[in-house]
Amino acid sequence: MHELSLVQNLFAQLEELLRQNNAEKILTVKVEIGPFAGVVIDSFEFAFAVMRDYESWANGAKLILTTPKPRYQCLCGHIQERDKLEPGVCELCGDDFLTPVSGGNDIVLQQVEME
């Protein structure tokens, strides 16, 4: 439910970038959403579509989202990548106490194409 406020934050950054670069229009926006960010991708995209129509300088802008796979560390030190969000068990020692490796809960504006 906070996806809209996140996208509003994104648009504030985009507007600032336009000003800094003397550009008029946003063409492409690349955003990485960490697997533990707690963001509903569909809602994020929906909020982006709403905001894009609302701001003339963003009309037609394309959103490219990437979501890296979650990585977990076992108490034994082993780090494994998972296709699912659940940690599963350690591939090496079989332990089921696995912690998400830090960095996966951020949402990062990576790159912007503008003109």
Binding site: S5, L10, I41, D42, G60
Partner: protein
Amino acid sequence: MCDVCGCGSHDHDHSHSHPHDQNHDHTHDHNHDHDHNHKSKTVDVETSLFATNNALADTNREDFREDGLVAINLISSPGSGKTTLLEHTIDALKGEINIGVIEGDIETERDAERIRAKGVPTIQLTTGGACHLDAAMVHKGYRRLCKEKGGGDIQLLFIENVGNLVCPASFDIGEDERVVLVSVPEGPDKPAKYPKAFSSSQTFVITKCDLLPYFDFKCEDALHDAKKINPHLRTMELCSTTGEGMDAWLSYLRELVKKFAVAE
């Protein structure tokens, strides 16, 4: 919609196809093709969407340090007993530790009125629909709280977040300690269903333990799931109204005040 965040079954690949569908249907896409004739510029940014919030959260933390207090962010579902725990905590620590409270709710002053009746400085933040408190709201709220009677002498600041296990977990509000609560009637599967609230917290409190005989709630199950997500999590089981388990909670608070609230 919000409940989907923590479930772990979201199909990212599937959802990726949506923006393309939208673009194809959208008339703006034609503009986009046209735009390619102009000179475009690509800028690498690499900034977090939480950057503004996190910077303000750090400012809040600095304010708390300067004022010599420790701030606790209470997160739980609606009705898990956050306000009741606060009422009993205030009674138990009266005359020993100066407590202040920032209440977060979507609507009404009700929680603030309950806490104010206990005689401690309290302000209510009504988000008017937003499902979480952010650093900016807490910043403004703390300014207001400082102006309340006794607001300048606070040693222990409770920030009771909006009742919601999903969104508050994503927003640093400048707290020193994050406490997540689950009450017995809610069921033991909350840690498994809402992992972020538990991975980002330091302490997990199970409340309303007097109801354990009447519910199919095994504390071990909830604690095991929570520890799986966050092995460093401190855990407590208590009942605010009967006082059971409150001693551990109170000594935890005393330790925190000792640790953080010394700087003058």
